[in-house]
Amino acid sequence: MENPRHTHRIALTVNGAPVEAEVEDRLHLGDFLRRELSLTGTHLGCEHGVCGACTVMVDGQAVRSCLMLAVQARGRAVTTVEGLAADDGTLSPLQEAFREHHALQCGFCTPGMLTSLTAFLRDNPAPTDREVREAISGNICRCTGYQPIVAAALAAAGAKAAEEEN
């Protein structure tokens, strides 16, 4: 069988650092991050766009990295779970809240939850329980039953609001 493997040269930023690579056209962004850049925090749970484990931020928007080709990330800024903490390793308020509220068990869905909610909370700093649930309705978690994830997101939003008031 013919199996032409076209490759493309791409340049983008990942977690703030410039990256250049030669990628096959069929390589999806999730595999690119995991295999080419060894950023294995991004997880693949279904590879058909439903589970949300592979969610990363592209130019600030939550995107399923299994549904986007690496070539489509050309010129974009990609943020993965590895890029959520501060440079000195200080966890983001959301990451802290996940620990505080036991919002993860096996941790497999967690990177996608964190990236989805990071983007969501930036745009919706004071959400309701219902809005948080809708924000993660495209992220499947088999372990936690979601309740502690919702609590963590609400707590992180609350902490941020309190910080801004001061």
């Binding site: 096959e24 390589l27 941790g107 497999f108 088999r142 372990c143 039953g145 502690p148």
Partner: protein, 776 residues
């Protein structure tokens, strides 16, 4: 000795790595020179393989090998996988060949393994392997499979019966003869697939001249994998090492031994390079063990007051195409009967049937949710027929609080009685009745009906036998720097064992929890283990850690007493520093003692002490602690669309003393949601020819955040008398009663229509049909 951590909501030590993307799951591991595999799987539910043509696949650039069974060394070509749980009652213990020999019995069965430079190339090549099938008749429904003359799931077997089981005690016929009422119920239970968010995965590397075969697998039971791989390959267990890294959820099916755990090592050995295979979600749907169908036909003999006098009936259990896990799932269906109820006589028989579908093994709760559903259905029927309240009918039937230890009447295989060690079922019910505002429900229901809305409430009670033995072990070792290392075989798939075991150990030694760390699930680092199944690790491994830490403490105190020239009774420990009461300057640390007990050349061991400040224990619970609980679900049913909304969900749970209530609650909430998924969403659909029809998350529905109710939890702590910590397992008690609570609530909402639900998951279409059929 102070208690600082036991019972506290200690934040998990695992989380620091998991929230930053630093977890290390099997697919995150890269070994030098590693190749990647993809598997050619059967597209037929039942067929004979006429031929396999892999020439085009082998010719593809980047492909290193294509293996069929015939391409392995001759000794493996006629060797099916080892039955991990043999039992005399297994009439047909059939396991599959790691790659199909000449017959395939379910869609997804492995036929060939392609190994290539990358997964992409391996998949390209897998698509080029041509398999010529001769289709054979398939049997898909277990109720058909047990009939004589049914198509055979295996062409050369006499029938489709894997086993016939029966549990019986008491005078059943007399109970029915003397009863005021006899009620019969028939229902079909369907529990779907596993759906851990991480699929399975295996890496194998063979270094025959060095340390032998290493397998990294997303498994719940590394020791079971070691035993079975060594047995299959004919290798010394000492030269087979199995490691479970971070594992992204287990829920039961990752406890077995799978074909890939055999064929990936065989390929790695043949090629002399590490090989990785990662299951994708489509493969997970068709090849990771599922739980699927059971049909129950049950009769209850009841007195005039609604008390159960006897239960009898028959179960047909779908085992799928093979027997990958002995009879553990069927057995765990029968042994919990009759649940929390004191029933004097019982006789239930089960036929375990082959079908041409994915093999079955336990999923969260194993057969216990099925057993609970069965008993709860009977109790619901009694309430309906006799006009009793859902809570009241349960009160009349519970094992009374002063009735423990309680022998159900069933016996284990060794003849010892199945015994509930402790509990207070009515106490739990009282708690959940209050939490759910059960008394106020009638008002809520009435108000809603006036608006044309249908609310319902459902009560469900259960027991959970937890902490099955025979043991789990732990070594507690103080390192020269004073840090404490716990080694155990018990693998974690997210339960938080690292935190839990560190809590128990830190208390026993009086050290800060930050100075304790856990390394687990590596057969090369700890010699013996069982694995993480059946809510057993807290009970077994914590008890071993507790006991080993006690020995370490004793040893440290005896040596400290010599060093400080004091008597052991005068010593006290705080934060790892051992001192003499009242003499603040006289101290020594655990680290000092550990160094003294591990001298280098030229040093000396203190007289009378063995080296190392460490101890190993396999101490375990003296039997299986019984957890229990009652749940109440409140739902709204849209009678126009059949949609069910779960409005609130309340849990009263008793798992004895809790090591970490935050993590116990996490187990319960997650478990309840799994049970709600079983009640409302999760159905694996096969057509009559055995083709799976919904292998994706668009069509196979898992519970999602927007569909889940607020879940409130209250605890009753009835300590287990069987272990020094008074603990019981907590991993499955959320799931076990949840499905029946939801179903009961739906029935309650639809009482005006007389709707009775006889199968789950309950789809909106089915509810609409039931409402229509009622004619109300």
């Amino acid at each position: 000795m102070g208690v600082r951590y036991f019972g506290a909501e200690v934040r998990r030590v695992e989380d620091a790595r998991l929230v930053t993307g630093n977890g290390r799951y099997v697919d995150d591991i890269e070994l030098p020179g590693m190749l990647e595999a993809a598997i050619v799987r059967s597209t037929e539910a039942h067929a004979r393989i006429r031929s396999i043509d892999a020439a085009a696949a082998r010719a593809l650039p980047g492909v290193h090998a294509v293996f069929t069974l015939q391409d392995f060394p001759p000794e493996y070509r006629d060797r099916p996988m080892v039955q991990p749980y043999p039992a005399p009652v297994l009439l047909q213990p059939t396991t599959q060949y790691p790659l199909a020999k000449d017959e395939v019995c379910f869609v997804g069965q492995a036929i060939a393994l392609v190994v290539a430079e990358t997964r992409h190339v391996a998949e390209d090549a897998a698509g080029l392997v041509a398999v010529d099938y001769e289709t054979l008749p398939a049997v898909v429904d277990c109720r058909e499979a047990v009939k004589s003359g049914a198509p055979l799931a295996h062409a050369d077997s006499p029938d489709n019966i894997v086993a016939r089981l029966r549990v019986a005690f008491g005078e059943v016929d007399a109970a029915f003869a003397d009863s005021a009422h006899v009620f019969e119920e028939r229902f079909l239970q369907h529990r779907g697939g596993c759906h851990a968010m991480e699929c399975r995965g295996v890496i194998a590397e063979d270094r025959p001249h060095h340390d032998g075969l290493t397998i990294i697998s997303a498994t719940q039971c590394p020791y079971l994998v070691r035993r079975n791989v060594a047995a299959y390959l004919g290798r010394d267990e000492g030269r087979v090492r199995v490691v479970a890294p971070d594992v992204g959820g287990g829920f039961g099916p990752k406890a077995g031994i799978y074909a890939e755990e055999i064929v990936v090592p065989l390929a790695a050995s043949a090629l002399g390079r590490p090989v990785k295979w990662i299951e994708d979600r489509r493969e997970h749907f068709v090849t990771t063990n599922t739980q699927r169908d059971q049909e129950w036909t049950l009769e209850a003999a009841v007195d005039a007051d609604g008390r159960l006098l006897g239960v009898r009936g028959r179960v047909i259990h779908d085992n799928g195409a093979f027997v990958p896990y002995g009879l553990l799932l069927p057995m765990t269906t029968l042994t919990p009967l009759p649940g929390p109820y004191a029933v004097p006589a019982l006789d239930v028989a089960m036929e375990v049937a082959f079908t041409n579908t994915a093999p079955n093994s336990p999923i969260r709760g194993a057969g216990r949710p099925n057993a609970a559903f069965a008993m709860e259905r009977l109790v619901a029927r009694i309430a309906r027929e006799l006009g009793l309240d859902q809570a009241e009918v349960r009160r009349r039937n519970y094992v009374p609080a002063d009735g423990f230890p309680y022998d159900t009447g069933q016996k284990f295989r060794d003849g010892s009685p199945i015994r509930y060690d402790s509990g207070d079922f009515e106490g739990c019910l009282d708690k959940v009745v209050e939490l759910a505002d059960y008394a106020g429900f009638a008002g809520r229901q009435k108000a809603a009906r006036e608006e044309g809305r249908y609310l319902g409430i459902g009560v469900s009670s259960c027991i959970e036998d937890t902490g099955v033995g025979p043991y789990e072990g732990a070594t507690v070792r103080v390192q020269p720097d004073g840090k404490v290392l716990i080694r155990t075989g018990a693998a974690s798939q997210g339960q938080g064992h690292e935190t839990m075991l560190a809590q128990v150990c830190a208390d026993r030694l009086d050290v800060a929890i930050g100075d304790v760390y856990v390394m687990a699930a590596d057969t090369g680092a700890f010699p013996h283990g069982i694995g993480t199944i059946g809510s057993r690790v807290a009970v077994n491994a914590s008890t071993a850690v507790f006991d080993a830490a006690e020995s370490v403490r004793d040893k440290a105190l005896s040596l400290a007493a010599e060093r400080l020239e004091a008597s052991v009774e005068d010593l006290e420990v705080e934060d790892g520093v051992i001192g003499v009461a009242g003499v603040p300057e006289m101290t020594v640390t655990y680290g000092d003692l550990a160094r003294q007990l591990a001298p280098m050349a030229g040093g000396a061991l203190p007289r009378g002490f063995a080296p190392g400040l460490e101890a190993t224990s396999y101490r375990t619970s003296d039997g299986m602690p019984t957890a229990s609980g009652s749940n109440i679900a409140e739902v709204e049913v849209d009678i126009g669309t059949g949609e069910v909304r779960v409005l609130r969900y309340s849990v009263a749970h008793d798992c004895g003393n809790m090591i970490n209530p935050m993590m116990v609650d996490g187990q319960i909430v997650g478990g309840v949601v799994h049970g709600i998924g079983n009640a409302l969403f999760e159905r694996l659909v096969y057509d009559e020819s055995g083709q799976p029809l919904n292998n994706n998350y668009g069509e196979y529905l898992l519970p999602i955040a927007t569909e889940m109710p607020p879940i409130a939890i209250t605890h009753q702590e009835t300590p287990s008398p069987l272990n020094p910590l008074g603990i019981k397992g907590a991993g499955e008690g959320g799931t076990i009663p949840a499905t029946s609570a939801i179903v009961a609530a739906i029935e309650n909402a639809l009482e005006p229509f007389g709707v009775v639900i006889r199968s789950y998951p309950v789809s909106p279409e089915e509810l609409c049909d039931l409402i229509d059929a009622s004619g109300a």
